[in-house]
């Protein structure tokens, strides 16, 4: 299922050898994107960190494809300084109950990035040590970066009320 170009990349090859882990692999504008089975995200990240020198997590963000299903995508931007590659991992999550395993134990940077995705997209990260809103006020209703959240005209929330 891998194209020749992708087969030459060792970490892509190793990940697609994991049963069911890689659902789709694409190269677009020189950027490698792997669609990962959400159940295996922690295992995939750990493998990248331990065996393919992915020292750092650049960031985690979300995409909302409302009204399509599966609605959400969680995007992991992974970077290896030593092996000089960048990699995007994506997990598709259903709109009903977007939930995925936290990768906090692989990269502790995930702490804040997962909180941000939780805050702005409403994706729940299982086993995150402190999953609460980070940018919006604690009592905010809704998740602003969802496509069905209005850009203008939303009523303000007041903490004390």
């Amino acid at each position: 299922m891998l194209t020749e170009e992708l087969q030459r990349i060792p970490h892509v090859q190793a990940l697609s050898a994991m049963p069911g882990a890689v659902q789709e692999a694409t190269v677009h504008l020189g950027e490698v994107t792997l669609m990962i089975d959400p159940e295996q995200i922690t295992a995939v990240c750990r493998k990248l960190r331990d065996e393919f020198a992915a020292e750092r997590l650049s960031g985690i963000t979300g995409l909302d494809w409302y009204p399509m299903e599966p609605r959400f995508e969680v995007v992991y931007l992974i970077h290896s300084i030593r092996n000089r590659y960048r990699l995007k991992l994506k997990c598709r999550l259903p709109g009903e109950s977007p939930e995925i395993e936290s990768i906090y134990e692989v990269w502790r940077a995930a702490d804040w990035y997962e909180r941000e995705v939780f805050d702005l997209f409403g994706v729940t990260f299982r086993n995150h040590p402190n999953l609460k809103r980070i940018l919006m006020p604690e009592d905010w209703q809704g998740h602003p970066l969802r496509k069905d959240f209005p850009v203008h005209g939303h009523k303000y929330s007041y903490r004390a009320e």
């Binding site: 504008l29 020292e55 995007v75 300084i81 000089r84 940077a109 940018l135």
Partner: protein, 409 residues
């Protein structure tokens, strides 16, 4: 550093439980309006005497929803928004966004525009480092530095004003090149500033380098290991001060950086003093790059040849129908970008600044994610302050060089 509790999990517990039932700790609230945070950052510290047992950063006070705003603007209209993310490194933000969109469009940017971009982002780096140095030293007690640094910074802001008409929110880089041709006499103005600048650096160093108070307050303070930094997502001068020669300008050269000769300064001590030294060396390297750009600036166009994306010239609009139609289309509707996504990272003064841009083929971005260096670096604040003295927290905060607008977006 080994414990796996999250940043502000403990802050929510009552006092007795925080201190494990033995010694009582005092919870102190720094901010959100603390002068040393240079913005609105709240840090909740638990003190055992003068030692910080736990520190938790609370951010979000400056959240303005810029990423959401980007989704309802045309591609070109996003550029002024990126200025407002980080008010000290506006041109780096412009650059990262433009590069990402240009990657999606598959655009070739003329060499002159690329060189101009390099020169101006390096001036931005100098500007940002000067503000950092001035305020960092001011926090530690060296007030004179502030005036010296802002004296030079004023000159850079004048240059920015000369180029773009704005001192801070320049929006000078546009998708397709630059907003305007460089003003008449820019070589003289930039040259006058940059050739005098090494003397200024020397002046700063004379004040600080062997200053016993400065050494006492910065040497060996806020140490953090390289592995921890990588794991926590720290980038930029902080990680170079821990011994890793990683600079995106060298490792993944963008714009015209591969044509320039410069070094990546590093230190190994990973303390506040090492971070100071790295940034001072970076001032010198940036000066070198600006001088090279000044001397070797190629002739040519400042915008790409891309009708429908780049605005036509005024004169052409008066005589050619196509030019007028393009102008009308670009202003009223914007241009379409082929579906796809791109992530472009640049080395901002604070570290890795990445723009992840997703297009669904429309005239506005489907999603713009800003991987900002201040956000990444602040994750390390809690672990860095742990078991350090409260008096050193100010030096530690200063050495991180964050901008809260950049953190909260």
């Amino acid at each position: 550093m080994s414990e796996q509790t999250s940043v502000d999990e403990q802050a929510a517990l009552p006092l007795e439980e925080q201190s494990n039932g033995k010694r009582r700790t005092m919870t102190l609230n720094m901010g959100p309006q603390h002068p040393s945070t240079h913005g609105v950052l709240r840090v909740v510290v638990d003190l055992d005497g003068e030692v910080i047992r736990h520190a938790a950063a609370d951010i979000g006070y400056l959240h303005t929803g810029i990423e959401k705003q980007c989704e309802v603007r045309t591609w070109q209209q996003v550029v002024p928004l990126t200025d407002r993310v980080d008010y000290l490194a506006n041109l780096s933000n412009n650059l990262a966004y433009c590069l990402a969109v240009e990657k999606l469009l598959g655009m070739e940017i003329p060499r002159r525009a690329q060189w101009m971009r390099v020169m101006l982002t390096e001036l931005t780096r100098i500007n940002s480092h000067l503000v950092w140095l001035g305020t960092h030293a001011l926090d530690i007690g060296a007030m004179t530095m502030f005036f010296y640094c802002f004296r030079e910074r004023e000159n850079i802001l004048r240059l920015f004003e000369m180029f773009s008409g704005q001192r801070m929110m320049t929006s000078y880089f546009r998708i397709g090149g630059l907003a305007l041709e460089a003003p008449r006499g820019w070589q003289h103005a930039v040259g006058k500033f940059i050739r005098a600048f090494p003397d200024s650096i020397e002046q700063y160093e004379n004040l600080l380098n062997a200053n016993p108070i400065w050494m006492e307050r910065t040497k060996g303070i806020a140490h953090m290991t390289l592995d921890d930094m990588l794991n926590l997502g720290v980038t930029g001068p902080m990680i170079r001060a821990a011994g890793l020669a990683w600079d995106i300008r060298k490792d993944e050269p963008y714009s015209a950086y591969s044509e320039f000769d410069f070094q990546v300064p590093t230190r190994t001590e990973s303390d506040v003093y090492a971070r100071f030294q790295v940034r001072m060396d970076e001032l010198r390297e940036s000066t070198k790059i600006v001088i090279q750009a000044l001397e070797g600036m190629p002739e040519g166009e400042f915008q790409a040849e891309a009708p429908g994306i780049v605005l036509p010239e005024r004169e052409a609009m008066k005589t050619q129908m196509e030019a007028m139609i393009y102008h009308f289309k670009i202003i009223s509707e914007g241009f379409r970008v082929p579906p796809g996504e791109a992530y472009v990272a640049v080395e901002s003064p604070r570290g890795e600044l990445g723009y992840y841009v997703v297009s669904d083929g429309a005239t506005n971005p489907y999603r713009v994610f800003m991987r900002t260096p201040s956000f990444g670096n602040l994750i390390a604040l809690g672990p860095m302050l742990q078991d350090k003295l409260i008096a050193d927290s100010i030096a530690a905060l200063g050495s991180m060089d964050f901008v809260l607008g950049d953190t909260d977006r």
